[in-house]
């Protein structure tokens, strides 16, 4: 879908300081994702979640906007663990 491809272009405008090797969100290993975890492949506004060819959901949180949507949908079930990035790291809004 053309619109889905554009989220990377949107993120390209932003400023990030990535805490290399220390992702602040992690997905619990699973064979089949829960409904909410699978929904994150659409709902994440930064497109951080994707589905692998074997049907699992994986995350690349470098472009994370720290909105907390996945936390609200997936933390209580234990599907993910969600922390703030270390102080000073993550997205840095120029305008906000």
């Amino acid at each position: 879908m053309a619109l889905a491809a554009r989220v990377e272009e949107k993120l390209y405008q932003n400023r990030y300081i990535v805490d290399a090797g220390k992702p602040h969100i992690a997905i619990r290993p699973h064979e089949k994702p829960s409904e909410n975890l699978l929904a994150m492949t659409r709902v994440c506004p930064a497109g951080c979640y994707s589905e692998t060819s074997s049907g699992q959901v994986e995350i690349a949180p470098d472009g994370c906007l720290e909105c907390g949507t996945c936390r609200v949908l997936c933390e209580a079930s234990g599907d993910i663990t969600w922390n703030y990035p270390r102080g000073g790291f993550g997205v840095l809004f120029k305008f906000g």
Binding site: M1, V7, K10, Q13, N14, R42, R71, G96
Partner: protein, 435 residues
């Protein structure tokens, strides 16, 4: 890292945190404020409209120094169908006053300025520091915090939690629950840059005048949500938000909705030729009065978005954050002045002040609205906007059909969609929840 003990530690340097820190520091309290961003404002996202009254109560002469974009003279409410909008537009030259009532702002710039004011009052502000946990004593009283910097606990008489909508500290300490998906909206927003003359010409503005468009209807595809267009000095903030629970059960992406909104024939010409310089996302508390958690306890209070203090119906949040932060600061100052303990019993003063203010009164007034809009989103956000658009087209298009037949067709369309009982029921439910 920090050996001394503070009267208060404020978590977060957003609207609530800065209001609380400024209020306490200006009254002589020893305040430490901790912010996880590189600078105050770097993690904060808002539309953004600033309400002057609530800032004046903290910094009376803020207009002289604060980075403000435009003062608002015009408001447009648009009900959107696929190719039309039906609008209610209000413009008043009286809004061109010496001390304007509402301004657009750019949050990261405003928050930086606000934080400088906080520091000028004597508060110590430390950035790039994420607070990891609240520290309690054996009796469960919060006595300090632990951060991700080296060093042990930092102690204070009271911790003021202004940690925003995600509020990890409070939820992890069991002070409140994580918001439910139906009680928060996910909003995405872009900053579109254009020369100020272009913005003024497109929105019929002069000098520092500003305009706001708030749009609801088919743009949210039947979900509870809305879009907005705010004019800044040299940029336009364009955004779109819907309830997280609706997003989860719908097939649309937030950025896809934003693209559709931007490409709506009523919006597109306003943005033509702009340069996009940022894309942001943020959660907005939408659950209202019924989702407000415990606001105080032994050694802590919570303010702003972290306490769900947001008026979704009037799209007001920053003013509730500023006011709750200020009132928390005033309550703590009063308790401190009496040389009393920051106990749950004494901190109830914060809740009392909040109850007496517009914050709780407004939220209480609309306590039934969030659930109503959520339960009836297909009607309010999809069916009615389309019916209204059809009615307007019917009314305006001149094609030789007698007016009496046009009227009958319009009424028939409404009745067919919702039946008489549905129409009256929807109106009744809305009126009752609004009351």
């Amino acid at each position: 890292m920090i050996e001394e003990r503070f009267d208060a530690i404020v978590i977060g340097a957003g609207m609530a945190g800065n209001a609380a820190a400024h209020t306490m520091a200006s009254r002589g309290l020893k305040v430490l404020q901790l912010e996880r961003g590189e600078y105050p404002g770097s993690k904060n996202v808002q539309g953004a409209i600033l309400y002057a009254d609530m800032v004046e109560k903290i910094i009376p002469n803020f207009r002289e120094e604060a980075p403000l974009e435009r003062h608002l003279v015009e408001q447009r409410f648009w009900m959107m169908s696929d190719r039309s909008h039906t609008g209610l537009q209000y413009r008043n030259d009286d809004f061109n006053e010496e001390r304007p009532n509402r301004y657009t702002i750019v949050r990261s710039q405003f928050d930086r300025w606000f934080s400088r004011e906080v520091q000028a009052q004597g508060a110590i502000v430390i950035c790039e520091t994420t607070v990891m946990e609240l520290v309690s004593d054996a009796y469960g009283k919060v006595i300090g915090v632990r951060t991700d910097r080296r060093g042990g606990t930092i102690f204070a008489d009271v911790v003021v939690l202004c940690e925003g909508v995600n509020g990890l500290l409070g939820t992890r300490a069991g002070l409140r629950a994580t918001p439910k998906p139906e009680h928060v909206a996910l909003a995405v927003k872009e900053m579109h840059f254009l020369p100020s003359e272009t913005i003024e010409a497109r929105f019929n503005l002069h000098g520092d005048e500003g305009a706001v468009i708030e749009a609801a209807g088919v743009i949210s595809k039947g979900m509870t949500g809305m879009g907005f267009v705010y004019t800044n000095k040299e940029s336009i903030s364009v955004g779109m938000g819907c309830l997280v629970s609706d997003f989860a059960s719908n097939n649309d992406t937030p950025y896809g909705l934003l693209e559709t909104f931007k490409n709506h024939p009523s919006i597109k010409p306003l943005l033509e030729g702009s340069e996009v310089k940022e894309y942001a996302a943020h959660l907005i508390p939408e659950g209202g009065y019924k989702t407000i958690p415990e606001l105080f306890g032994d050694g802590w209070v919570v303010c702003g978005d972290a306490a769900q203090l947001n008026n979704a119906i009037h799209r007001e949040g920053s003013n509730l954050a500023l006011t709750s932060g200020r009132l928390a600061g005033e309550a703590i100052f009063q308790i401190k002045s009496r040389k009393e303990a920051m106990s749950k019993q004494n901190l109830a003063l914060y809740k009392k002040l909040l109850d007496e203010s517009f914050v709780m009164k407004d939220l209480k007034k609309y306590k039934d609205m969030p659930a109503l809009l959520h339960a009836n989103s297909q009607n309010y956000f999809l069916a009615y906007p389309q019916l209204v658009s059809k009615a307007m087209e019917n009314f305006l298009r001149v094609d030789g059909t007698p007016k009496i037949e046009k009227e009958k067709a319009t009424i028939a369309a409404f009745v067919k969609e919702r039946r008489w009982s549905g129409l009256f029921g929807d109106a009744w439910k809305l009126a009752r929840a609004w009351r």
